[in-house]
Amino acid sequence: MALQPVAKLPFEGLIADARSHKLGKWHSKLSERALEQYAEIGWPGPKTESWKYTSLNKIASGTFSLAREYSAIVPEDMIMPLTCPRLVLVNGVLNKELSNLEQLIGNLSITSLVDIEDHQKTFFDDLFKSEESKGDLPLTYLNTAILSDAVMLEITEGSKCELPLHIISIGSGNGITFAPRLIVNVGIGAKVDFIESHVGCSDSVYFSNSVTQLYLGDNSEVGHYKLQNDSRDSSHISLTRAVIDDGASYDNFTMSVGAKLSRNEVRAHLKGSGVECCINGAYLGAADQHIDNTTFIEHQAEGSSSREVFKGVLDDTARGVFQGKILVHPEAQKTDGYQMNRAMLLSDKAEIDSKPELEIYADDVRCSHGATVGELEDELIFYLCARGIDRESARRMLIGAYISDAIDEVKNIDIRSSIQSVAENWLKQNLYEK
């Protein structure tokens, strides 16, 4: 019997390259370990349960090289429209010239891996290790293995950041891959809002494999808002993982409008009790876009609440995926969980796959979930037209209202209206009847 050639792992060839690249010896060890774990789990395929609706074949079979350019022009019209301090990553590496952090007050410190000596990296080491124990996340290991930088934000205990921080991750170049990595460490009782805008320079085609890890100390308050507006032919795979302690509140919202293939995966581990956690989002898809939102909320302790509202609009042959799992441990009595996922299909060929999953091991809990799929009813459009509003404006108003309902979940009012304007822009540019 002929031996089958051993299938090479996607991106394996780039990993060795990455080691000699930017971060030196320290990263080599880390990268080796990550590669081992990545190899053990393997690339997610059609049989991998959590990836059954989203195929990564196109990424796996593509030819990518590591990004080597770390400067670009910020595509201002793509990012979230906000005036606040910004931190800019180009192809995953912090670019200080493009960032303006002067306005940030002393209660927030920013450390880039590129800037520090190997012996100072032990703290990062521990963080990465703790990440690795989390299991089935091959793309996170890949991120670690090909890292070019990592940025850590630390908000000191008790400090309240008045201005939000805007983190802009820019993809620039063709056929490249990069691995943005953010670590956010929020001290006890601290308060901060930050935004991630993922965008691309015009015509860039890339694969961004992004990981954001958060640690929320007791009673901290964090707003974490993300805009995925990557270049239309690119791929965006991201994982956000938040570990949340007693009494903390976490407000997460993702607006997805860009990329050809995207996955926004959010995993929230409610370690403490009395946690308030919101994982919300909205998505607008047209042409052949594929937009995946996958969430996992783990209630580990008593008396926490979680809320999830996702709403999407899909036109043409766009495809949406929503997977939402809520796991309630036996200790997590008095858990309050709510999940709602709605999609509006504007074309016969648009599609949504939806998979809610509740796994509850405590008996005194309140958990509910629901999903709806609908279309824009002619009767509704006619009602607006009969009042003098033209058909196109009527559609825009109705779809806008539909999506706003999810955007209204965003707790920070300024950011809410920024996201609103992103949605309105999208509707202006993409919504015309075929």
């Binding site: 002619d378 037209c385 009042r387 003098g388 509003i389 009527a394 209202a401």
Partner: protein, 251 residues
């Protein structure tokens, strides 16, 4: 000259001919009532006039202020001054009442080549209209018709009419579902809007409404045609005798 002139109007819905030769002339300032059995085509007529898609005119003409209406889209007809108060007003989730009214009002201004209205000024205008209809500010802040009671929805239709000030108002069973007080309120609202230039086509099943809003003409629509026309006494006669004389066999 008539404000609205309908000649030999035939229309199909889903391939079925529902209107089979309607003739109707409405002069400026006139109030016409249309009565008729269920399923006779009254709402169909209202949709055809308002320009709903799927309601296809196969023969005949509709002239409004001398213009051919058939070629105009629904929004253009509305901006020309045709208003339809729906038999079943639609709930519009997420669109706030006040915003909806302003959009509609400004659409008309733009259509007429005029400046859009100042938001504060408009608010005052709407409030004064809402007051007459006993509609609270709260209702204007809510999404249009969402969670409104049947009667509230009907009142909201009349408010929209009062704000948009059409030349022709078609009221499709605005009275059904209203309690006695609301019927009075809505009728007062409608009467207040009566003017020499504003005509109305009132579709109703009940003679009671016509006590409040006195029509100049009453028509009986059955089997897709106007079978009989007369003065307001015709409504009383129908109340007493029903529609037996207009049954398929009689026709």
């Amino acid at each position: 000259m008539s404000l609205l002139s309908i000649r030999d109007l035939h229309a199909t819905v889903g391939g079925n001919e529902i209107l089979k030769g309607i003739n109707l002339e409405i002069g400026p300032g006139e109030i016409h009532a249309v009565m008729g059995p269920n399923g006779s085509g009254k709402s169909t007529l209202s949709y055809v006039l308002a320009g709903r898609e799927g309601y296809e005119v196969t023969r005949g003409t509709i002239a409004f202020k001398g213009k051919d209406l058939i070629d105009l889209a629904a929004d253009e007809r509305a901006n020309e001054g045709v208003f339809l108060a729906f038999q079943y007003p639609v709930e519009v989730p997420g669109v706030v009442g006040m915003t909806f009214l302003r959009e509609a009002y400004n659409a008309k201004l733009r259509y007429l080549g005029k400046q859009e209205i100042d938001a504060m000024e408009f608010l005052k205008f709407v409030r004064s209209r809402a007051k007459t209809l006993n509609m609270s500010d709260d209702m204007l802040k809510r999404a249009v018709n969402v969670g409104f009671s049947g009667g509230e929805k009907k009142r909201n239709e009349i408010l929209q009419m009062a704000v948009l000030e059409p030349d022709l108002a078609i009221l499709d069973e605005t009275d059904s579902g209203l309690d006695i007080d609301a019927l009075k309120l809505v009728s007062d609202g409608v009467n207040e809007l009566r003017s020499e230039n504003r005509s109305m086509l009132i579709i109703t099943h009940y003679q009671r409404l016509l006590n409040y809003i006195q029509p100049d003409h009453v028509h009986v629509l059955a089997h897709g045609k106007i079978q009989r026309s007369g003065g307001k006494e015709l409504a009383l006669e129908l109340e007493a005798k029903g529609y037996a004389e207009f049954s398929e066999e009689a026709a």
